[in-house]
């Protein structure tokens, strides 16, 4: 029998790495901040699957709201798009 919870956990392992690469490949810094938040949600689910649900809750709040929020505030104070030259 295939356990649905563990299947999603295996998918989240892939999602974490793909999200990390995708966040650093963006030219739009605002979109990079959003994608790093999405990677953080996948990491929170992975913490839950690795038998540490307290860390999952903390990572879900901190990594999805606070980290991208701080980065977005820094982007709003500076500039949104990466300089090309």
């Amino acid at each position: 029998m295939i356990d649905a919870f563990m299947t999603v956990a295996y998918l989240m392992v892939i999602g974490v790495t793909i999200g990390a690469v995708a966040a650093l490949l963006q030219k739009d810094l605002l979109r990079a901040a959003y994608i790093s938040g999405a990677e953080s949600i996948a990491l929170a689910f992975l913490f839950h699957a690795l038998l540490a649900p307290d860390l999952g809750l903390t990572q879900a709040i901190v990594g999805t709201v606070l980290m991208p929020g701080i980065i977005i505030l820094a982007i709003l104070k500076t500039r949104r798009h990466e300089e090309s030259d």
Partner: protein
């Protein structure tokens, strides 16, 4: 042949996150990209420490009423790694905030987000 359990795959993902984060911090030129790479590096270290404590087929280390006391030490996941990681997550937020503030100060002084121009000291 290494069996591909969740713990092994998590170690691999943690190693990839650390490599991606370090490469991003070293080779990307944009300061905010460096900040995002730093958070990825921190996530990778957290994931490595948490997957150290994983026990295959184990339970969450909370002793509930009615649970068997003799099976608990064999089944429960280790508590030390997650205890440290909880501190590291919170410290990571404050480190990110300080780095973001420093980036804003650098931008106000040099008018650019490129690390190569900031290191050369070009005023706008």
């Amino acid at each position: 042949m290494i069996e591909l359990t969740l713990q092994t795959l998590s170690f691999l993902a943690a190693a990839l996150l650390v490599i991606i984060g370090m490469a991003g911090m070293l080779y990307l030129d944009n300061l905010i990209k460096k900040l995002i790479a730093f958070t990825l590096l921190s996530d990778g270290v957290n994931l490595a420490l948490v997957s150290l404590g994983y026990v295959q087929g184990g339970i969450v280390p909370i002793l509930e009423p009615g649970a068997s006391l003799s099976d608990f030490p064999n089944e429960a996941a280790l508590i030390f790694g997650p205890g440290i990681v909880l501190t590291n997550i919170v410290i990571g937020v404050s480190t990110t905030a300080i780095l973001a503030a420093l980036i804003v100060i650098l931008y106000k002084r040099y008018g650019t987000l490129k690390a190569s121009k900031v290191l050369k000291g070009e005023h706008e």
